[in-house]
Amino acid sequence: MAEAVLKIKNLCVDFLDDHTIVPAVSDLSIDIFPGETVGLVGESGCGKSTTSLAIMRLLDTNNARISKGSIELHGQDLTKLSEKEMQRIRGKEISMIFQEPMTSLNPVYTIGRQLTEGIVLHQGVSQKEAETIAIDMLQKVDIPRPEIMMKSYPFELSGGMRQRVMIAIALSCNPKILIADEPTTALDVTVQAQILDLMNSLRDELQMAVILITHDLGVVAEICKYVYVMYAGQIVETAAIDDLLNDPLHPYTQGLLNSMPDRWQGGDRLYNIPGTVPLPGTEIKGCKFADRCEYCTEKCRQAPPPLVRLDEHRSVRCFRSAGTQ
C-alpha cells in the first residue's frame, strides 16, 4: 500500500475559555492515503471543524491550541512549523473549502483576482500566466464562460457557482490534500449531487486525498471510502463505508444511521437520538455517549472505553460492541 500523505496521531485540541481549558478534540488519529476520500462524521459541536482547522493551523490562537499529538504531512510535522512555513503549505499542499459559499468569497474583489492570487503566490508565475491557469481551472469545475466569470463579483453568482469557484480556488495549486468542510450543506440537493460528482472526478484526476467533513451520512455514502465517526471530540468508530452502513457497531453510529429518514423503518415518527451532545468541558468519567445510549451499563459510567481495533480498517470505542464487556 502507498504511504499515507497525512498522518494525524493522538491529536488533542483545547479551547481556552477564560483561563479554563476545555478539550475540544481528544486523541484523534487518522491516516489518509492519496486518491482516497475519508469522511469525518458527527453532529454539530463534535469537533469535526475544529479538527480541520487544526490541520490547517487556522485555529484562533487566542482561544484554541493544539495541546498534544502530531499532524504529519509527508513526514513533516505541521504542528512544529512556524506561521511562515505554514503559509507555504496552505493552499499549496493542503487546501480547504468551507460550508458557506455565500460568505466565503471576498465580496469586493472579482473572482479572477481571488483565484489568481494563490496561483501567483504558490507557483511563482506572472499574473498573465496565472489568469490562464485560473480560466483552465474554472473550466475544470464546469463553470460556463470562464473568461467572463473571471471579471464577475461573488454577489453575481449563485450558491452552487460560488462553491465551484471555491473548489477552483482550492484546487488551483494541485494540493495533495483537500479538506472539504460541509461543502454541500448550504446547497440545493440537485446542486449537491453535482458538486459531489465534481469533487469525485477531480480527486481521481489530481490524485489527491480528500477529507470530507459532514453530518450527512448520505453524502458520505456517495463519495467516501473510509469513515471516521466522531462524538464529543473523540473518534467512536472507524470503518470502510460499506461495513459502516451494513453493520454499524457503535450505538451512536446506529443512532445516526437510524436518523436518516430513508433508512428508518420503525414507524411514522422519525427516529432521533435522545438527548444532546454534552457541552464541551462537561466532566464525564465514563463513556461520553453513556447518557444517550440505550445499552449503557454501570461499566460504561465507570471508565472511558478505549478505541479497540477490530481489524485493519475497523475500530470502535464501545465496551459492548468491542466485545470487552
Binding site: 487556522l58 493552499g91 468551507f98 455565500m102 471576498n106 465580496p107 474583489y109 492570487e117
Partner: protein
C-alpha cells in the same frame, strides 16, 4: 455617471429646504438689523427708513425670494455691518478653514488608521490596550484644553511654533505650515479617537468573516490578508464616519479658530451672529450646507468605488 447625476439631483431639494429653514430661523432671532446698523440712539424714522432700504418691510416670502434669486446668481449679498460683499468675506475666510479641516482630518487618519488596524490585528495585547488608551484620552480631553496646552508647551515654553495667528499659504508656505501645525494636531487628535474605535471594531468584525478564513487558507501572509482582503471591506462603514467628520470639521472649527485666533469660517459665522448680520449668516450657513451635501455625494461615490455591489447597482445577499 448616472449615479452622480441622480445624487446631485436629489441634493437640490435638500438645499432648497435648508435655505428656507436658515432664512426662517434668523427671522426668529430677536434684534432688528436696522437698529444694529444705525445704533441704539437712532430715531424711529431713521430705523424705519433703513428697514425700508434693506427690504425688511416686505412680506417674508418676497424677502426670501429676493435673497435666494441673488444667491442663485452667485451674489450672496452684502454684509449689514459694513456693506462688504459676503462673497468676498467668505472667500477670505474659507481657505483657512478648509486647510484646518483637511489638515485635522489628515492627522486623524494618520493616527487612527495604523492604530485601529494594529489593535484589530492584535486584539487584547499591549499594543491594543495602548491604542485604546490613546483613544480614550483623545475622546475625553476637551480639545480646547489640548489646544491651550499645545500653545503653552510648543509656543510659550519651547518657542518653536507660533502661538496663534494664520499666514495664508500663498503668502509664505513655510510660515503657513508652522501656523497650522498646533491647531491641526489638537483637533486631529480628538477626531482620531472616534475614528480609531470605528476602524478597530470594523476591522475586528471583518477579520471574523468567512472570506478572511478563505484568504488565510490560501496561504496568504498576514499582511496581505490584513491590507489586501480585510481593509477594503472594513473601510465601508469608516467612510461614512469620515464623511460626517469632515463635514463637521468644515462647519465646526469655531473653537479651534478662536483659541488659535485664526480668521476662519466658523469665526465669521459667530461674529456675524453677534452683529445681527443676518445676510452674512444665512449666506454663510447656506454655503456650509452646500459643502456638507457635496461631501455626502463624494462619500456615496467613494462607496461605489470600494464596493462593487453598490457600483453595479445590485444588493449583494451575502
Amino acid at each position: 455617471m448616472r449615479v452622480i447625476i441622480k445624487r446631485i439631483a436629489s441634493a437640490i431639494p435638500v438645499l432648497a429646504l435648508v435655505s428656507i429653514m436658515v432664512f426662517l430661523m434668523l427671522q426668529l432671532l430677536p434684534g432688528d438689523p436696522a437698529t444694529v446698523i444705525l445704533g441704539e440712539e437712532a430715531t424711529p424714522e431713521a430705523v424705519e427708513a433703513m428697514r425700508e432700504h434693506l427690504g425688511l418691510n416686505k412680506p417674508l416670502i418676497v424677502q426670501y425670494f429676493d435673497w435666494i434669486t441673488k444667491v442663485l446668481q452667485g451674489n450672496l449679498g452684502e454684509s449689514l455691518v459694513d456693506g462688504t460683499s459676503v462673497n468676498q468675506l467668505i472667500m477670505e475666510r474659507l481657505p483657512a478653514t478648509i486647510e484646518l479641516a483637511l489638515g485635522s482630518f489628515l492627522v486623524a487618519l494618520l493616527i487612527a488608521l495604523p492604530c485601529g488596524i494594529l489593535s484589530a490585528a492584535r486584539p487584547n495585547t499591549f499594543a491594543d490596550h495602548l491604542c485604546s488608551f490613546i483613544s480614550m484620552i483623545g475622546m475625553s480631553i476637551p480639545h480646547f484644553w489640548l489646544g491651550m496646552m499645545c500653545i503653552i508647551v510648543f509656543a510659550v515654553e519651547l518657542g518653536v511654533l507660533p502661538a496663534s495667528g494664520y499666514v495664508p499659504f500663498f503668502d509664505d508656505p513655510a510660515e503657513n505650515l508652522k501656523s497650522i501645525i498646533l491647531p491641526v494636531v489638537a483637533t486631529g487628535f480628538r477626531e482620531s479617537a472616534i475614528l480609531m474605535r470605528m476602524i478597530r471594531s470594523s476591522m475586528l468584525e471583518v477579520l471574523q468573516s468567512d472570506y478572511i478564513r478563505t484568504a488565510k487558507a490560501k496561504g496568504l501572509s498576514e499582511m496581505t490578508v490584513l491590507f489586501g482582503h480585510a481593509l477594503k471591506n472594513a473601510m465601508i462603514p469608516v467612510i461614512t464616519t469620515s464623511g460626517i467628520m469632515l463635514a463637521g470639521l468644515l462647519g465646526g472649527l469655531v473653537i479651534t479658530e478662536s483659541i488659535f485666533n485664526i480668521p476662519g469660517y466658523g469665526k465669521l459665522v459667530i461674529d456675524s451672529v453677534f452683529n445681527r448680520d443676518f445676510i452674512t449668516v444665512q449666506s454663510a450657513i447656506l454655503v456650509s450646507a452646500v459643502f456638507v451635501v457635496f461631501i455626502n455625494i463624494a462619500v456615496d461615490l467613494l462607496y461605489a468605488f470600494v464596493d462593487p455591489r453598490i457600483r453595479l447597482g445590485k444588493e449583494g445577499n451575502s
